[in-house]
Subunit: 333 residues, 2 copies
Amino acid sequence: MSRLSSQIAESAEKVNRFIEKVVDLEGEPELLYRAARHIIDAGGKRLRPFLVLKSCRLVGGREEDAMPTAAALELLHTFTLLHDDIMDQDEKRRGVPTVHNQWGVPIAIVAGDLLFAKVYEAITKFTDPKHVAPERILQVLKEISEATTNICEGQTRDMMFESKETVSENEYFRMIQAKTAALFKVSARCGGILGGAKKSQVDRLGEFGRYAGIAFQVIDDVLGLIADEKVLKKPVGSDIREGKRTLIVVHALENASKNQRKTILETLGNQAASPEQIRETVEMINSLGAIDHAKEVAEKYIVRAREALAGFPASEDREDLISLSDLIFARQH
Amino acid sequence: MSRLSSQIAESAEKVNRFIEKVVDLEGEPELLYRAARHIIDAGGKRLRPFLVLKSCRLVGGREEDAMPTAAALELLHTFTLLHDDIMDQDEKRRGVPTVHNQWGVPIAIVAGDLLFAKVYEAITKFTDPKHVAPERILQVLKEISEATTNICEGQTRDMMFESKETVSENEYFRMIQAKTAALFKVSARCGGILGGAKKSQVDRLGEFGRYAGIAFQVIDDVLGLIADEKVLKKPVGSDIREGKRTLIVVHALENASKNQRKTILETLGNQAASPEQIRETVEMINSLGAIDHAKEVAEKYIVRAREALAGFPASEDREDLISLSDLIFARQH
């Protein structure tokens, strides 16, 4: 295990223990708390909390001051997963049935809502105002709320794309900046704010998070098409079946011949598409260079992320953040 | 129009204008913002904001310091309505189609989420820390998060009741204290906190809100059975059809003969029940004294609400809060 991987694993352990304090293992009614913890307990690398904690350290802050917010942003992420899975009608996540698949849509909605409420409870209850100025805590809460607004806007655009004939790369990037990158951005910014950073430092951390977040989503799109299903722990090709306009699909459609375009559009969003049909469409998309294009785009954003940190003096924490962005690019699931 | 009614109408106007600043009329994607504003724009008395503003004034605070929180708590209320309507499969609300009925479940979920995010955005962005100490703003945010946790727990219990054979009055009260009264309680408490009240004053305001909230829900149960459909602006008897365990149903089942119990349970939760069958069941429930019992219970809680304010010196604002609780008892819709 690399130094970074063991650091991530160690920080995930701490974050998990903190989450147990916030989303009570003994909470009642039991059904609600079991549903709320289901996807959290199924795994996940806790990359967003890691980003919060590292950003806090990079600017000289104390990790414990950022821990409630780190855990809170994992809860925020999980809340969006629960609700997105309903909207996308996904059946599996992290190798287990999705919450609505196991307990029904109503419980999945209210369990997501509970996690969202716990985001703010975690921060307001456990951030010590003796160590972090209340003004900074308020700033963190404000930025998290704005990021969540962005996430809702992005998720809506993503759904609207499914019924659109043409989606441009610009529209795609606008969507993922809101849906995915906003959460990475706010994670890095909050780490900085809680660590006592100056505004210019917070802004640079935010740019790092935003670029890394864009790369994360583009790689996610790639893995959704070509990963090993056992490693990915969800069905490969479901993006195609759901009609998602990933960067890969957008690029393939832009470069397809009339006939190829017809074939791709016939499979896209076709719930009844056979595994064979999905496989053939993925091959066609690949032959159009769309997967290579996506990898190049992701790499470009990783470079930008690294550059965003150039203004910070060299340090182990800065190196770790750069390694984190490399890991985002190189991940297999 | 009584003095109180015109005050409520006037305050609702101000709250509505503030909400327009927070849930942007020009927000994009337009579909999301239209869905989020749909039930807000369809009406409502804005009783929870009124309770926030009045509680703030009662303890000598400035109304403008409480306005962002007043509007936020209406947004919180609306968010729960959007999600509850999905869970309960309700088709109408405030005389218009519910959001999921008009735009589908996915948009109703994400529109609710957006409103929830805007709760915190409203407070953190618009409460002036020059006039309200940041510690008090943080306290307000913490209490709102805890109240939302309660609401989620209560909503889950309410759903779980539908598949239970027997629900006791105690279980019913535990459920509505979480599902409904927690929001009234936190509204009154937040008004006090933002107005600079001492802890003992905040606690007394919270008790007033809690008792008034219990009465509100019990009266809501009554109106759901006997109100004029045109005034209520939603289908009468839908509680019965959905199998809701209202205080009325709980009391009727406790006092029913074996045969009556059988008849009531056959109609309860029976989506295919005819209007005639619903009417007959309501008559049977009424003949068991369950509706009178509910009105008596509501009155008892209104008296307790009034008593909770006894510790405050007599003032116009105190009289207005007492009139508000009387209005909650006497309302027709």
